[in-house]
């Protein structure tokens, strides 16, 4: 398609791609985060999501600037370092018909915010949680992060003596219901995973390796473009099929595809690559992550999913009407109830 055709095309929501755009990026040229923002735009457009029904959240850091680079027509809140999860949790109670997307980084989620990251997962708040993972603190000009590899050499800091935190493992250990890893340099897979994440009923954690072209793009580092392209080991080829669309899986060889039906009726089709991988098996998920780490591979794809786990909101008895639209008369108990209360305390 030419650019002209792209602009004139509308989706089922009657919106064009331009309706999903954000402000121009102020991140570095070639930053992996920009590619992720583009795929968020593409995924939302293709899913016919109305931008006004999306809430964007972020913490602090380069990654956390990204929500301004997509979905300008969505409400957003750029909160505190590492504390986007709590901000999102409170806000999402306001209107359960809205979708949430949080964008965080490895500094934000693996260090200061590791506690909030895990507790949000534990509560299974329905939202998409993207970690733009570059293994470095970019906005403060290149310090080690908690996902930096052991032995990484950085100009000002020397050699990193510590083992990295694997956010996918942390997520699975915290009973995440959707855990995926992708690579900013693999837009096709990334887009499919973002679409699947939006359809997941629960927390959808996407750890996206996103190279920092300024402070940390050394060819032999796991957080670089070169390494990612050469060592990306996809678990499967992934296709997302929206709800109510006729499912056609002719593309896939008989017996080699695995389908996962999501709560909204959409489906993820995983085409078998080298291994027969079952993403609903939590033990296997942990095993492949450990193996990939030992073999220094960048394992990507849908690592774990449990599409039917209860969400945070299943623990509450909230009305159909959005909580933030309830009129005052629904919020203040009657004078008679106060009389009864006073009588009971007299």
């Amino acid at each position: 398609m030419t650019n002209q055709e792209v602009r004139s095309t509308t989706n089922a929501a009657g919106l064009t791609r331009a309706d999903y755009k954000g402000a121009p990026s102020t991140l570095c040229q070639g930053c992996g985060h920009n590619g992720i923002a583009s795929q968020i735009v593409a995924a939302c457009y293709e899913l016919d999501i109305v931008p006004e029904t999306v809430l964007k959240f972020s913490g602090i850091g380069c990654s956390s600037k990204s929500p301004t680079y997509f979905l300008s027509r969505s409400f957003g809140f750029n909160g505190l370092h590492g504390r986007m999860p709590s901000l999102a949790l409170g806000a999402m109670f306001a209107d359960l018909s809205l979708r949430g997307i949080g964008v965080s980084g490895d500094g934000d989620s693996a260090s200061i915010g590791l506690g909030q990251f895990k507790h949000l997962i534990r509560r299974n708040l329905p939202m998409v949680y993207i970690v733009e993972n570059n293994g470095v603190y970019g906005l403060t000009k290149g310090q080690f992060s908690a996902t930096s590899e052991k032995g990484l050499y950085l100009k000002h800091q020397g050699t990193n003596p510590f083992m990295p935190i694997d956010l996918c493992l942390e997520a699975i250990a915290s009973n995440a219901t959707f855990v995926a890893r992708s690579f900013a340099g693999d837009p096709k897979q990334l887009k499919e995973l973002i679409k699947a994440a939006f359809s997941h009923r629960g927390i959808a954690v996407l750890d996206v390796i996103s190279p920092c072209v300024t402070f940390h793009n050394q060819d032999d580092s796991i957080h670089s473009y070169t390494f990612g392209r050469e060592h990306e080991e996809a678990l499967h080829e992934i296709s997302y099929i929206p709800p109510r669309e006729e499912i056609t899986i002719e593309d896939f060889e008989e017996g080699s595809a695995r389908e996962v039906t999501l709560h909204d009726g959409s489906m993820i089709v995983l085409k078998k690559l080298a291994q027969d991988y079952d993403p609903t098996d939590r033990f296997q998920a942990i095993r492949v992550l450990e193996e990939a780490a030992q073999n220094r591979q960048l394992l990507t794809g849908l690592i774990y999913i449990n599409p039917n786990a209860p969400t945070l909101f299943d623990a509450y008895h909230l009305p159909e009407t959005a909580l933030n639209r309830l009129p005052a008369e629904k919020l203040r108990p009657t004078p008679a109830s106060l009389d009864a209360l006073n009588a009971s305390m007299a």
């Binding site: 409170g90 909030q116 108990p333």
Partner: protein
């Protein structure tokens, strides 16, 4: 107190004394103490109860004091008229606090010596009475305290019927515990009638002074107030002495906030992983258009400081209840104080301002429960309510809760039609932080608004009137000055101070919060001793003009408070640099609620200088 104790000349002392119960925590004494408190209240006698307890679950000494006061004084008294000693470990110390002619009731298995000869002593056969009662052996320890309830009822003149009613109230009509507790109380009552020769002067008589009053604690009342204030979201993390505030939601939400039409609940409460998360959740909820609050104590408030700065600058409405305890650090976590005043005032980095409300009674905890939510939304800013352990956790007699006299105030929120109308009227010019009315308070939209112009990106980084990122010097200064203007608007509508005057007063007392009963009593005592004073109780920060006028129109003003460093004095001093020389520091913090004696003596000592 008079020099010669009334008892020593044989005069009965009616409805004017103080009882302290010395027990071991975890022994079930709370039931017994509450039964007595409520029985006296039901007899129409003004009464107050204070729990002095350790930060521990079982085995350490704990005290409970009940003051009955025909004159309606509810403050703590440092001396005891009657001591009920159930704990051998503190037996010797207990006796020191008794007034001459006072009464010592004690469990007769305590073998420690009686060191006072000027008191009246009644041993109680606690073990025997409990053993004879029809109670399962494992419950005996818990029910032992009902022995002193029965003995005191007999000695003081409380009808057993009243005790029974109080038990019915306490156990919400559950027959089994009512019967077993009452059985012990009755046996003890009968034992006392048959075996004790009353030699003391203390009696109670029915009055009619509690009509229109209820008994409640401040934390429960704050929670109920918030539910009447349309609270929609609360997040909290356990901390003494604030936990019972959020826990009260669990008790009252089903009855008060279940929509009769849908059967659904119109608010949500989340127990967060820490205070950092609790305030984050509340900021998110407040931004998204929910009336949101959290409750904590000093250490938790410290953890909330960064998000409070963001909420100030991004203009997010929310309410924080700080139920103060003795700090810094873990300090005395089960003791009361007013030592977070400067923390709350200056909380967060950068230049910030916060609305603070200081409830002075349990009834006012209810009122500020709903009013704080109104103020937060009206001014799109955090409101910090400064309660304390004494107010929050103790049972107080307080006027009945009054239904809010104004409808719920949601402030300037634009939904789809409102925004469309505004855009039409203003030729499409609307911005989240645009001061359209000139009062410093902008209009806000909230998530879920489907109007294509409604969305904005909230942030703690520099932004202009339209919510756009900006690092421009002029923009920062302009937006920041506008936010300051908002607080000048707020200052005029915040709860005014209450002033209690005395004829001919030239000296002022300024105080706030739970010290109110001690100040009132001290004010009356000072007047009786020839020093009339006017008393102003501050209820809100930023200070109303009435506060400044009061200070300017009194020769001296004693600023009485429960902290070491005279925190309210500090705040007044920086707000009133030219007139602060007349302010006198009168601060005291030892973890115990202030007494009128201390207030009176502290003021007299400075007057004599």
């Amino acid at each position: 107190m008079t020099e010669v104790h009334p008892h020593l000349d044989g005069t009965p002392i009616v409805n004017d004394f103080c009882i302290t119960f010395s027990t071991v925590n975890g022994s079930g004494s709370a039931t017994a103490n509450n039964i007595l408190l409520r029985s006296l209240f039901r007899m129409g006698i003004p009464v107050s109860g204070k729990n002095i307890f350790p930060s521990n679950i079982q085995g350490l000494p704990t005290w409970y004091t009940i003051r009955v006061s025909k004159d309606g004084y509810l403050a703590r008294v440092a001396k005891d008229d009657i001591v009920v000693a159930m704990n051998h470990a503190t037996f010797a110390k207990e006796q020191e606090f008794l007034v001459p002619g006072g009464v010592l009731l004690y469990a007769d298995d305590i073998k420690a010596p009686i060191t006072r000869s000027d008191i009246i002593v009644y041993p109680m056969p606690v073990k025997k009475l409990v053993k004879d009662a029809d109670v399962a052996p494992k419950l005996r320890d818990y029910i032992a305290n009902m022995v002193y309830v029965g003995v005191l009822a007999q000695l003081l003149g409380i009808d057993l019927d009243v005790i029974h009613q109080a038990l019915q109230y306490h156990f919400k009509g559950k027959e089994k515990p009512i019967a077993s507790n009452f059985g012990v109380a009755k046996a003890a009552f009968e034992w006392a009638a048959a075996n004790l020769q009353k030699r003391d002067a203390y009696r109670v008589e029915r009055m009619n002074a509690t009509e229109g009053y209820i008994m409640a604690d401040g934390n429960t009342s704050a929670a109920i107030g918030a539910l009447y204030g349309g609270m929609q979201f609360a997040a909290w993390y356990p901390i003494t002495p604030a936990s019972s505030l959020a826990e009260a939601f669990q008790e009252y939400v089903p009855a008060l906030r279940t929509d009769p039409e849908t059967g659904k609940q119109t608010c949500a409460v989340v127990q967060a992983e820490d205070e950092l998360a609790a305030i984050g959740m509340v900021v998110g909820a407040g931004w998204a258009g929910l009336r949101a609050m959290t409750s904590t104590s000093g250490p938790g408030l410290s953890l909330m400081s960064e998000y409070l700065g963001l909420a100030y600058y991004a203009e997010v409405p929310l309410v924080v209840w700080d139920v103060q305890r003795v700090g810094p650090s873990t300090g005395l976590p089960t003791r009361t104080a007013q030592c977070d005043m400067t923390q709350a005032y200056f909380i967060s980095h950068g230049d910030t301002q916060f609305i603070m409300l200081m409830p002075g009674s349990v009834n006012e905890c209810f009122e500020f429960g709903w009013r704080a939510l109104d103020l937060a939304e009206q001014f799109q800013t955090p409101v910090i309510v400064m309660s304390d352990l004494d107010l929050g956790m103790n049972q107080w007699m307080t006027p009945k809760f009054q239904y809010p006299d104004t409808p719920i105030q949601r402030g300037k929120v634009l939904w789809e039609e409102d925004l469309e109308k505004m855009l039409t009227e203003r030729n499409g010019d609307w911005g989240r932080y645009l001061d359209i009315d000139g009062d410093g308070v902008p209009y806000r939209t909230v998530p879920g608004n489907r109007h294509p112009r409604s969305a904005y990106f909230a942030r703690g980084t520099g932004h202009d009137e339209y919510g756009r990122y900006s690092e421009e010097a002029e923009t920062w200064e302009r937006v920041f000055a506008r936010i300051a203007r908002k607080f000048e608007t707020a200052r005029l509508v915040l709860p005014k101070p209450e002033i209690r005057r005395k004829e001919g007063a030239r000296v002022g007392i300024l105080a706030y919060g739970s010290t109110d009963p001690a100040i009132i009593e001290a004010q009356d005592q000072l007047a009786a001793q020839g020093l009339p004073t006017d008393y102003l109780r501050v209820r809100a920060v930023p200070f109303a003009d009435e506060v400044y006028d009061f200070i300017r129109t009194h020769e001296r003003t004693y600023v009485v408070e429960m902290n070491r460093d005279s925190q309210m004095w500090q705040l007044l001093t920086i707000n009133l640099p030219d007139d602060c020389r007349s302010l006198r520091k009168t601060a005291h913090m030892d973890g115990m609620p202030l007494t009128a004696d201390w207030v009176r003596e502290a003021i007299l000592a400075q007057e004599e200088k």
